[in-house]
């Protein structure tokens, strides 16, 4: 187009001028003549109608001219004039020559001078001229290799310059400055394209798309899209032409760079409707983009913020064609959410991410769409709820509950809705807020507001409505009223010193307690309550009497159900159980451990058994109680294990703390205050606590299958074993226990429940801390080495963060042991 438009004969005038100039340069002649030659080139170029008017031959000649220009020693060149030659020449050619010059190591222009020209080149907006030039060539099928090379040079300019100048490049070449500049250039070109399209001329945008794609894949999305997205958001608001240009710009990005571009747009678009304007139906037209949007960003990655998710899914919901994708996405998300394997094996963060995505999808669903997939939604809800509730991690359980509630809310427009009881926290509140359609602009749920509102609502205990209700604030009687003859002074009170709190007389003998607790006289609720409350101290005060009936008492307590609502009943019962177990450890431990594996107990009871064993073991092994009176021990059990599912956390905390204190001791030497020494009562009985528990775990009963469904109890069992192992430090049985435990851990090491794995890792920690080093080395070197490699695996690959942390801790412990060992032998 350009060459054809040039009047014939003009080329003839430029050609000799160029030849003359090249010759002058080759002569490296005197400044005067060179300046004249260069001046002639400039004026005839201008006369020819600018660089766009050059024909192929002239371009080649001009290239030769520029190349000799850069080869010429800088000092010889007339200052100011030679730079203009570059800035006025055809931008593509100039850019290539300059970068070649920068790349070559030979003599000629100083690299700093070349960079100086490049800087001017950028600042005078020649970059957009360059892009525009390529776009025009492309419309008439230019040379792809050349364009590729050019593309490379444009995108990698900061690196080239920086390489040459060893980092001392001018600020404009710093990526954070260069890419916004490039973005501006792209915008200018797009404007030109828009103009020429409006003028009815064809134009190719693909080179610009390539530039965009390559910049994005180089990780400069922030810089370039920061400029582009803001500007394009404005431009596309009301102009269809601009929308089409923008769609085309993204569509023409080659597949290999598509992901980076789409990701950049999704992250940076200020809202779903803007994103929809910018991308159009890209996801429908482009397979790669579809994969990125509907699969990769939702199912494979999980680091994106909620706002990005909202953008993405909002974008899918804003067009009929894309809505089918939205439904498909929801289906796939639900598949993942309701897959028990995913729930078991993927990290909690990812599950949170998927739950969020599901809730956002649900918020976009319309009534007819819900109708069409109500059954599928219901099925996935049931399935997913089950596997989430099966999980032993409270966070996952809660996620399951929130999502299931939300699905049920959506599919049961009338009729009862699923409702779980759980404590609301920030996470659940955020999740629930996602179910409400956010306006299409950026709305980050304002949590603090919600909270203050809640607090405000929780404060007053005042009835809300009722026309004449009053707050329960006493109306202070007036002073005058007081002075009235209104007084009770003529009435003399009787002695009321006997008016004390009513106490039910609790039984004084253990056998009476048994009678009350097993008695069928339901009337004596008060007595029963008093007995439950008094039992622990009674047991502690009468060890001999307790021993006579210890197993019977343990049995009664294990089966004791809450008859009336006593405050802290579970705690009272547990303390009594612990008291019985510590008073007569061997038979009671034998009884409890045998019951753990017998038929017809609820999971709760089995976990109670574990709790009691741990607390008693702790008490027996804890030296600080000796010397204190038995009574004070009764009031202050050494560690209050809270009940319910939270206790696992505390177990771990305890173990962690112990590990920490122990580790410190290794590295800092003996800084601990020595406790009063006394015999460890746990020494003689540790085996009775430990071995029966570890023996039967792999034999399923009809109602109890540790290796199957009841993995929550297995998790608790494993944690219990870890604590027992830790408490058995310095006992005789410790080595045998360690060996058994190591085997046990080895069998279960690939268990799918992360809570169980955490327990196993705690077991290893306890073992390393409790078993004497020489015994470890003598009896279980091989197992330990195997364990070490397993730990390494866990540390790298386990999806659960806590597991990875524990594994690392264990490896550090091993390392410490090794160091200590190295220090000792001398």
């Amino acid at each position: 187009m350009a060459a054809a438009a040039a009047p014939p004969g003009l080329g003839l005038t430029l050609e000799p001028v160029l030849r003359e100039a090249v010759a002058a340069l080759d002569r490296a002649g005197v400044g005067e003549s060179l300046a004249a030659a260069l001046g002639a080139v400039r004026s005839s170029l201008a006369a020819a109608g600018g660089p766009a008017a050059l024909g192929e031959r002239e371009r080649a000649l001009f290239g030769a001219f520029l190349r000799s220009l850069v080869r010429a020693p800088g000092a010889a060149l007339p200052e100011g004039v030679w730079q203009r030659c570059f800035l006025e020449g055809p931008p593509g050619l100039v850019f290539c020559v300059l970068l070649e010059a920068l790349g070559s190591t030979g003599s000629g222009l100083d690299p700093r001078e070349v960079v100086g020209v490049l800087e001017q080149f950028l600042q005078e907006g020649r970059l957009s001229a360059l892009l525009w030039e390529v776009c025009q060539q492309q419309a008439q099928a230019g040379c792809p290799e050349l364009q590729d090379a050019l593309l490379n040079k444009i995108v990698c300019l900061p690196e080239h310059v920086s390489n040459k100048l060893q980092g001392k490049n001018p600020p404009v070449f710093l990526p954070q400055n260069y890419f916004p500049l490039l973005g501006d250039a792209v915008l200018q070109v797009l404007e030109k394209i828009s103009d020429s399209l409006r003028g009815g001329l064809d134009c190719s945008i693909s080179f610009v798309s390539h530039v965009l794609g390559k910049v994005c894949i180089h990780g400069r999305q922030k810089e370039i899209l920061g400029v582009l997205v803001t500007r394009l958001t404005d431009l596309t608001k009301s102009d269809c032409m601009w929308q089409r240009i923008c769609w085309r710009l993204v569509e023409c990005v080659p597949d290999r760079w598509m992901e980076a571009v789409v990701l950049g747009f999704v992250q940076r678009a200020p809202g779903a409707d803007t994103l929809s304007r910018l991308l159009g139906n890209l996801v429908v037209k482009n397979k790669k983009a579809q994969f990125v949007v509907t699969q990769k960003m939702l199912l494979l990655q999980y680091g994106h913020t909620t706002a990005v998710l909202q953008n993405l899914l909002g974008y899918l919901s804003l067009d009929g064609l894309r809505r089918t994708l939205l439904l498909r996405v929801l289906q796939e998300l639900l598949e993942t959410w309701s897959s028990s394997s995913a729930v078991k094996h993927s990290p909690a963060e990812q599950q949170l991410y998927i739950s969020k995505a599901i809730l956002i999808c649900l918020s976009h669903l319309k009534e007819p769409e819900i109708d069409s997939c109500r059954h599928e939604l219901l099925m996935s809800m049931m399935e997913g709820m089950k596997c989430h509730l099966d999980s032993s991690l409270p966070q996952l359980q809660r996620l399951g509950m929130v999502v299931a509630e939300s699905i049920s809310l959506k599919i049961n427009t009338e009729g009862p809705v699923l409702k779980f009881e759980y404590e609301e926290d920030d996470e659940t509140r955020e999740l629930k807020s996602l179910l409400v359609q956010t306006p299409s602009f950026f709305v980050v749920p304002s949590l603090p507001d919600d909270e203050s509102e809640k607090e405000g609502a929780a404060l007053p205990l005042v009835p809300e409505s009722s026309e004449k209700s009053h707050t329960a604030v006493p109306v202070m009687p007036d002073e005058e009223l007081d002075a009235e003859l209104d007084s009770d002074d003529d009435l003399l009170p009787y002695d009321m010193s006997e008016d004390k709190e009513l106490k039910i007389k609790a039984p004084v003998y253990i056998r009476d307690c048994i009678e009350v607790l097993t008695g069928s006289r339901s009337e004596d609720v008060d007595k029963w309550e008093a007995t439950v409350k008094a039992l622990e101290s009674l047991v502690r005060k009468n060890p001999a009497a307790t021993r006579e009936v210890s197993v019977e008492l343990a049995k009664i307590l294990l089966h004791l159900e809450e008859k009336t609502c006593i405050e802290g009943f579970v705690d009272l019962r547990q303390r009594a159980q612990v008291a019985v177990l510590t008073t007569d450890p061997i038979p009671v431990a034998e009884y409890l451990t045998s019951q753990f594996y017998s038929l017809n107990y609820s999971l709760r009871q089995r976990m109670d058994i574990l709790d009691v064993l741990v607390l008693a073991a702790q008490e027996l092994s804890c030296p600080k109680f000796h010397g204190n009176t038995k009574h004070s021990r009764a009031q202050k059990p050494c560690i209050q294990l809270p009940l319910g599912s939270d206790s696992s956390k505390d177990w771990r905390k305890i173990v962690d703390e112990r590990i920490k204190s122990k580790t410190r001791r290794f590295s800092m030497g003996q800084s601990h205050v020595e406790l009063v020494s006394c015999p460890n009562e746990f020494n003689s009985v540790a085996g009775y606590f430990f071995f029966p528990l570890i023996q039967h775990f792999d034999r399923p009963l009809t109602t109890f299958d540790l290796l199957g469904e009841d993995h929550l109890v297995l998790g608790r069992l494993v944690h219990t074993l870890a604590i027992l192992m830790y408490l058995a430090v310095n006992t005789v049985a410790v080595t045998a226990m360690g060996k058994a435990l190591l085997e046990f851990v080895w069998v279960l090491r690939f268990h799918t429940d992360s809570y169980v794995r955490q327990g196993l890792l705690s077991c290893i920690s306890s073992l390393l801390l409790s078993v004497p080093m020489d015994r470890i080395l003598a009896d279980m070197t091989e197992e330990l080495l195997e364990t070490q490699s397993w730990l390494g695996d866990v540390m790298e690959k386990d999806p659960d963060g806590d597991c990875r942390r524990l594994a690392l801790q264990n490896l550090l412990l091993m390392e410490n042991l090794k160091k200590k060992l190295e220090a000792v032998p001398s």
Binding site: L461, V462, P463, S465, S466, E467, K468, S469, H470, A472, V473, P474, V475, P477, D486, S487, D488, D490, L491, L492, P493, Y494, D495, M496, S497, E498, D499, K500, E501, L502
Partner: protein
Amino acid sequence: MEKFSAPMALPPPDPQFVLRGTSAAVHTLHFSCGGPEPDIPLLFSGSENGFIHVWNLKTHRVDSALDGHGRKSVYCVETMGGKDRLLSQGRDQRICLWDLAEGRTSVTDSVFTEHVGFCRCSLLKVAQGRWLMAMAARSLEEVQILELPSKTSVCTLKPEVGAKLGMPMCLKLWQLNCGSQPVLLAGYEDGSVVLWNVSMGKVLSKLICHQEPVMSLDFDSEKAKGISGSSEKVLSIWSLNEQQNLQVYKTHELVNAGVSDITIRPDKKILATGGWDHRIRIFGWKKLKPLAVLDYHTATVHCVSFSDHSIPRERLLAAGSKDQRISVWSIYAET
């Protein structure tokens, strides 16, 4: 708690006498001692085995035992006008009207309440031979007002939808003076006391007095002040201002939780409470000054009642308990 026990304080008195023989827990008591001289002072007691015993207070013996509630617990007994007409309410969901004149012991009429709770009905004489009776109705939150003896329904008091008051637990029907509008005070399961305008069937005022169900309340229309107790450790005293608004006046903390009955003596000088802690407590009504703690029973005290003797110094206090005994006391009778 304030310490009122001065060093010189007298020990609390023993019961004047004790009535035994109901052979079941006593749930309600009612005196009839106001009659002129030849009349024998009587005490009616209703017990868990469904019998109403008529105690002769001269001989301290049972005169007669009335069986009209199918052996289901009787939890409210009132006389209507004189000792010859009696009203009783039982767990058989019936309210019976008795004719006891000339030695008869027959049920003349009965009302089927269909109420499954144990909210005592409240009786108010509006004219000679005409009474209004408030009772908990079949529907859970409702109170029904009937005219007796015609048994015509006057109105039904329904809380607003969504008020969530729960069942009515205790009722007190009163009017400021003869001929003025009857008003009902009702204590509800959610701990609130509601003032109802009976003729309009509208809530005049509502006050949350307790966190637990209101077990009992009594009201002094002269001072426009009332008192209520619940299963908590607190007595709540509230007042009614001229705009018919209930306001908390003060609260009084008890040593033990649970108040099953509260009665203000007809002369409004003292009041008695029966507690789950087996004790009867006496307070001065004006300032709620604690006066005495009567510790005699060995189980929950279910009811306390003051006698209507016309001669003040003969006045008695009776308390019925789960331990099947009725203790009768003479306390502050001189003042």
